[in-house]
């Protein structure tokens, strides 16, 4: 990235998506969550990782959507896929079969060990807010080779203690995964709108390893619900390049136009 031209202005969300996209490699097979993960994965495909295989849990393998899907099963995903399989096959042969190198997830609530809650705020039996639930995430978290997480920082989202263990990250840290018989790496990367985090090699607690351009330690700390830890040598995330930013913005513009196209108002 260093010799590519950095774009002059960009939003924290754009930085988040682009920083997340950079973690993906050309030979990755990536199980894509909807929303921010989907944008990051497709930016990677359209920039440095044209060979990446993107898989959505609707059964679409090797998709190359021209616009971002609104749902996990938009027609665009099937139209551009190498093949589309049944959902049981997707979860048996492709996820459980160990064919996924990266599972890319978002989170409603996240703790410092990469455990994710998208099920419920409050008690499970007496919910304050009933969220949609786990969907594919519980087994993505345990069966994909490693897990990347992306979410905007907030004290409501990055919490001391999640209300429900939808997807197991590093549990209480250390070798908790191994002790439960989970042999994949679990969360190895967290990209927020402010920073890049990686788990400590021993404790597995997420630690800031890079700040996005213009972001301070204080800003990261005050938008995080647990006492944020920082690496001894903090990097600065390279700013988005022109290519990255154009690619993301074009993708989002195409997406917006496509999703507006079929509004009933316009058709009538």
């Amino acid at each position: 990235m260093s010799d590519a031209k950095a774009a002059p202005g960009f939003t924290p969300d754009e930085m988040m998506t682009i920083a997340a996209s950079r973690a993906l490699r050309d030979d990755d097979v990536c199980f894509v969550g909807i929303g921010a993960p989907s944008a990051a994965c497709n930016v990677a495909r359209l920039t440095h990782a044209p060979g990446i295989t993107l898989i959505y849990e609707s059964g679409t393998i090797g998709t190359a959507p021209d616009v971002l899907p609104l749902s996990i099963g938009d027609g665009e995903l099937c139209d551009t896929a190498v093949t589309t399989v049944s959902v049981p096959e997707m979860f048996r042969y492709w996820l459980q079969g160990g064919r996924i190198s990266v599972g890319f997830l978002g989170a409603a609530q996240l703790d410092r060990f990469g455990n994710i809650n998208t099920t419920v705020i409050g008690g499970y039996g007496q919910p304050k807010t009933r969220l949609p639930g786990g969907g594919g995430a519980p087994e993505i978290a345990s069966s994909a080779g490693e897990i990347y997480i992306t979410m905007a920082q907030s004290r409501r989202g990055m919490v001391e203690r999640i209300d429900f263990f939808t997807s197991f990250g590093h549990g209480e840290g250390g070798d908790h995964r191994q002790r439960l018989g989970i042999h994949t790496k679990g969360p190895t990367l967290l990209v927020t709108d402010l920073a890049v985090w990686k788990p400590d090699p021993v404790t597995r607690e997420f630690t800031v390893v890079a700040l996005h351009p213009g972001v301070t330690r204080d800003r990261v700390a005050e938008t995080c619900g647990w006492p944020a830890k920082f690496a001894d040598r903090l990097e600065e995330t390279p700013a988005p390049t022109d290519l990255e930013l154009e690619t993301l913005r074009d993708l989002q513009a195409r997406t917006k136009a496509a999703h507006a196209r079929n509004r009933r108002q316009e058709a009538v």
């Binding site: 909807i34 849990e57 609707s58 059964g59 679409t60 609104l70 749902s71 996990i72 099963g73 938009d74 027609g75 995903l77 099937c78 139209d79 589309t84 399989v85 049944s86 959902v87 049981p88 997707m90 979860f91 048996r92 996820l95 459980q96 099920t119 499970y124 039996g125 919910p127 807010t129 009933r130 969220l131 949609p132 639930g133 786990g134 969907g135 594919g136 995430a137 519980p138 087994e139 978290a141 345990s142 069966s143 429900f164 263990f165 939808t166 997807s167 197991f168 908790h176 995964r177 439960l180 018989g181 989970i182 999703h259 507006a260 079929n262 509004r263 009933r264 316009e266 058709a267 009538v268």
Partner: protein
């Protein structure tokens, strides 16, 4: 053996109060017309099974038809939460409902086990997951060769499954194309299966041999309902009405507005209205 019936009769003959029913569709091919017909006929005490309960289950829950929901992702796909479902779970409105919550992997495997005639599904899952603690229907078996402990869930065997598909042949075979989800499994796992289709063709001669076809003798009833999946979509026929999903977020946010919308758009309508709802979404056939 599949019988071609008007939708009203297909629903009336195959759904009963207290049934365990699956209206399946994974974002694609959601059987909206069948669900609306069920709402009009006013069934009660249903156990509604679906991996991705979305608008139609939100509507059925909001109308007080559900005793229990078995599911793995209760969201408005790509938009957010299901507000009628939330109101039932959080506030017991219009009445409290039971939930049995799984992961997608568990539900997909449970349908597969149902289709395969097994009492339970065995898979590697739920490790470290909170659902294993709150759902008593998550068990385990031990591999007799390696000693590995695997998750087990009961097979799903709905009394009746409703799906929407692209085509039926005159003899009643059914073709599903594109994102096929768990529809085949949901049909084969069920005691009865009702299929709405976009169109009927003379025969399936010339069809590729490996497509997803449900033979006529695996289907109980077929009803022809063009557009019957709206606001979901039918690969090769019409696009997803994303705007309708966004609108639902507002409609469902308010109890009165929900009721009024249901009255106007479901109770006073029929399956014949679906064709016009997708006319602006039709596209050149690929």
């Amino acid at each position: 053996m599949a019988r071609f019936l008007p939708l009203g009769r297909a629903v009336a003959e195959n759904l009963r109060d207290g049934d365990t029913a699956a209206f399946e569709g994974f974002t694609h091919l959601i059987p909206t017309a069948a669900a609306h017909e069920a709402i009009r006929q006013g069934f009660r005490d249903l156990t509604l099974v679906r991996m991705t309960p979305d608008l139609v289950y939100d509507q059925m829950v909001g109308m007080g038809m559900a005793k229990k929901i078995v599911f793995s992702y209760a969201g408005n796909p790509g938009v957010g939460l299901l507000r009628r479902f939330r109101d039932a779970v959080e506030n017991g409105f219009p009445h409290p409902i039971e939930i049995e919550e799984h992961s997608h992997a568990a539900m997909a495997n449970a349908y597969e086990a149902g289709a395969a005639g097994l009492p339970c599904a065995v898979f590697r899952g739920y490790r470290g997951a909170g659902l294993a603690e709150v759902n008593p229907n998550v068990g385990s078996v031990t591999c007799p060769f390696t000693g590995e402990v695997l998750a087990a869930v009961p097979a799903l065997r709905p009394d009746v499954t409703f799906i929407h598909a692209q085509k039926a042949s005159r003899r009643g075979d059914v073709l599903i194309e594109g994102i096929i989800g768990v529809q085949k499994e949901a049909v084969l796992a069920a005691r009865r299966a009702v299929v709405t289709v976009e169109e009927v063709v003379d025969d399936f001669d010339g069809l590729h041999p490996n497509l997803t076809v449900l033979p006529a003798w695996t289907v109980t009833a077929i009803a022809v309902v063009p557009g019957g999946s709206h606001p979901s979509y039918a690969h090769g026929f019409y696009d997803r009405d994303n705007a309708a999903y966004l609108e639902w977020d507002e409609i469902s946010a308010d109890r009165d507005r929900f009721r009024a919308w249901m009255e106007e758009n479901v109770m006073r309508k029929s399956d014949g209205d679906f064709a016009s709802r997708v006319s602006h979404l039709r596209k050149a056939r690929r």
